[in-house]
Every structure is written in C-alpha cells, then in structure tokens.
Symmetry: C2
Subunit: 283 residues, 2 copies
C-alpha cells in the first residue's frame, strides 16, 4: 500500500478551464498530493496492475466489436519528462495494448499534406492505448514560435484541431491531453546533467539551447494553444513537472481515471460454452 | 539473484540445425535449465533491466545514425503462450523502443499483394525491437494445411522467405525466429481453462478446435517450414512451451544474447561538450 495517497483528484485540479493562466501554475507544486517522492514512487508501482488490467479488458471488448480506445497526448518543453512518463506509466501496460508514436520534424512528404495527415496515420486502433510523444500541437507551438506557417494558417489550425479531436471523440476515443509544465530553471539543471554524463550526451542537441532562448515565446504559444483547444470533449491538463515523480503519478491517475470511467467488462461468450466443452473433451 | 541459472546456453540447445526433427523435441522439457518454476520466475524478473538497458543503448546508437534493429518472430499453435512472452519478456523494455504487431487473417487488400507486402510494412525501425505475433510463416503454415494457396506458390514462398530474411539481415536486422512448441495434451488443458473462466471466454474461438483437429498436419507444416527456412543468417529456435515459465526465460535469453552480441554503446557527443556547458550557463 502507498504510504500516502491523493487528497484531491488531480483531474479536477489540473484541468484547463475557462480563464486559465499558465503563468499562474507553479511547476514545482504537487497539487492534490501531500506525500513525498518515496510515497509517489510507491503509488506509481502500486497502480500499475490496475491500469494493465483495465487495458486488457478494453482490448477484450474490442475483440467482440467494441470500438473504444484511449489517446494520451504529451506535450512539453525539452527535458520535461515525456519519456519517463511513457517508460514508467505506459510501461505497466502489456506492449500488445499500447501504440506509442513520437512525432519528429515533419518529412518533406508530410509537409506536402495537411498537418493532420501524419497524425491520423498514428491513431490507436480499438482496444489500444495510443500515446503521442509530441503531436499536432507542434503545428501551433514551434510553428508559431518559429514562424513556420503564415499567421492565417496558424489561426485556422486551432479550429481544425478542435474539429479533429471532436471527430476522434465521436469515434469512441477518450482523448487526454497533457502539458508537462517545467520551469526554465529546472530545465537548465536537466540539460546540465545531460552534458555532464557521457551516457546522456545522445539526448542533447545544441539546438535545444536555441529553443530554450525562446522560452517566453513558447510559454505564450502554449497559453494560446491551451485557450483555443481545451474543450469538454478533449480536455487539457497542465501537470507541474519539476518533480518527475509527481508528473508520473499525475499522468498515471489521469489515465487510470479515464479507464475507470470506460469501465470495460469481459465480453460474454458469443458461443455455446457447454457445447464447446463437449467438443474439446472429444478432441 | 536468481536461485538457479542456465547450465547451458539455450541458444545452442534450441537452435534448429541440419537434420532437425520437431517430433523429437519434448514440449515439457526445460533444456539448459535445472531450476523450477520459482527459479525461472526469479530469473525472468532479474534479467529484465539488462534487456531494457541494452535496448536503450541500441536506440541511442540509432539517434546518431546507427541502423541496427532486432526482429523477434513468434510462431506457435493457439494457447502456446505468445502473448505471455510478449507481456513478460518484451514488457521489460521501454514502450518507446518496442514495435509489436499481431498478424491476423489477411484483409482483402492484403490478399491483392504478395504475401510479404503486409509484413514489410511492420518492420521495426533502427534502434527498436520489433515483435511479430504470427508472421509471414502463416503463409506456409495455415496456408499449407488449409490449402489457401496452390502447391507451386507454397513452394515458391520458402525461397522467398529466405531471400526476404537475408535482405533484413543485410539491412542490419538481427532476426530471431521462435517456435513455441506445445503438446496437444497441454493445449487441451489450456483451452479447457479458457472455457472454464468467464474472463477468458473472449480468448476462445470455436474455430480453435477446427485447427486443433489438424494438429498432425500443422506439425508437418512446421517441420517443413523449419527445414526450409532455418538459415545461419536468420536461425530458428524451437522452444518447449508446455511450461510457460520456461518458454519465457528461454525467449528472454535468446533476446538477451542477441542484444549482448550487438553490444551497443552510448554514442560519443557530436558537439563540443565544454562549449555547450558555457552556452547553457549563459542561458
């Protein structure tokens, strides 16, 4: 048993509502959780099997015609801990029930299509938990900060994203959008660690500092994206991420809440169980 | 520490060599391992982190231009435990470094193409461990037993498979092909359990018994496939699978051996570390 548990549901505390101001969220806070790192790590381990079980039920349901699936969208500044969330939270699920895709700089072919073209190709099938490591939001984040698209096109994209996500929800997808909210100071420490350790050099790219130099511009782009695309159907959650352990249990809880709400059940047999037992006995 | 370890390398003991006879392999044996179930489960848990670490290194290498990847092909009769191997062996790896694909009955579109068309689309990218849950071997197994293709076409496929796998190896893929070898008696018990438990009914299909009735034909088709496609470049391993715990540690060891042989190293920085430290300090 964890030594400490949630005192409040993080889903309620972290959800982006009307009037949300990103700058008011403290990246080092731990909303809804009064325990320490050890408590958080114990909780992370303890809750893994329930997530795995619920996903297996969702998968079982899909084998009998169920169409429900989950999509977890992860967005963040570099080093905020997307990878750790995937390893430690999503890693508890059977690999057959998970589809992780990391979106990188678009290829020339991808750029010839609408920005959602490459996104649609990576959507999870029925019964599966899909995870986007970066996503279509890059097309209103780095694209805005770096001026990669005309202003009019950027404006159009917010509405296109809302329409797209409504479509996913209508297609029985539970969409959970998470921004891991890191402080510039904590990023500096994490980048320094990458530079200090030879086994972390591969994670470092000199370009990371160019993006870091645009920190305020990115925060404004996030604020705008959150305002324009937080919907009841596909809500955004801003998760304080200066403490890695907190970000992990918070995302775990969001995923657990979503799966519990789906409440998938083992499907009833679509064959005559007793007749099959007789056939098997004779085989 | 595990209470018991391998006394012999299962890679050597289980590898299909010239003159191999499937019927001579006892599905309830545990070649190379003298411990019991508890020993096996302890070993399974203990070896997980090393697999995860080696895969992360392979992934890191790929970020710096490395092309190496691993493909684990799993073939077996129903209930032999492919799913459990994926959950317990592959599940130890970061989900970002794994690509699992289950091949089902081909779609009408897939049938309009050569049998390898759909296979090629699911190959793992650099740095990733790909897992095929069933594979192109279905096209010489069920296809042979059920007469789904003309005899001439079936003959052609063995050579096509060997050529295809040579191509994968030339493309820096380590190919590990595993047949989980189950006895008909053990399958009967496992099917009975699926019929006894309401939470397992979704895994049962009346068609499973139709395939079971063709057990000898399937064994002959496997024997032939093993003979025709076991190559030095892409070897086959026949893993006794009546004891689930043994099948899991054996496949784990095959995967571990492959990754150890690749011996991936953290890539050296392709930037000036000291210069970056200065840039970061000023940021």
């Amino acid at each position: 048993m964890p030594r400490s548990a949630w005192t409040d549901d993080p889903a309620t505390l972290l959800k982006v509502m009307s009037g949300f101001v990103l700058a008011d969220v403290d990246p080092s806070s731990t909303p809804g959780f009064e325990g320490d790192k050890d408590d958080g790590e114990a909780l992370l381990t303890d809750a893994g099997p329930e997530i795995a079980d619920l996903q297996e039920r969702l998968y079982a349901e899909s084998r009998e015609g169920g169409l429900r699936k989950v999509l977890l969208v992860l967005q963040a500044m570099d080093t905020a801990g997307k990878g750790g969330v995937i390893r430690h939270v999503v890693g508890a699920i059977d690999p057959q029930g998970v589809k992780v895709h990391g979106f990188k700089k678009p290829t020339p072919e991808e750029l010839e299509h609408d920005f959602l073209w490459r996104i649609r190709k990576q959507l999870p099938p029925a019964g599966v938990v899909g995870v986007f490591d970066r996503s279509h939001y890059e097309d209103v984040l780095i694209a805005r900060v770096r001026g990669l698209a005309p202003a009019e096109e950027l404006e159009r994209r917010y509405d296109a994203i809302v329409a797209f996500e409504n479509e996913l929800v209508a297609d029985d997808t539970t969409v959970i959008k998470v921004m891991l909210h890191l402080s510039a100071a904590e990023q500096k420490e994490r980048l320094a660690e990458r530079l200090d350790r030879a086994d972390k050099h591969w994670k470092y790219n000199p370009g990371d500092l160019d993006e870091r130099a645009l920190w305020p511009e990115y925060q404004r782009a996030y604020q705008l994206a959150l305002e324009r695309t937080a919907t009841e159907a596909a809500p955004w959650y801003v998760v304080p991420a200066d403490r890695k352990w907190y970000a992990r249990i918070a995302v775990q809880r969001l995923l657990l809440d979503a799966l519990r709400r789906l409440d998938p059940q083992w499907p009833a047999a679509d064959f005559d169980v007793e007749a099959e037992k007789k056939r098997l006995a004779q085989s």
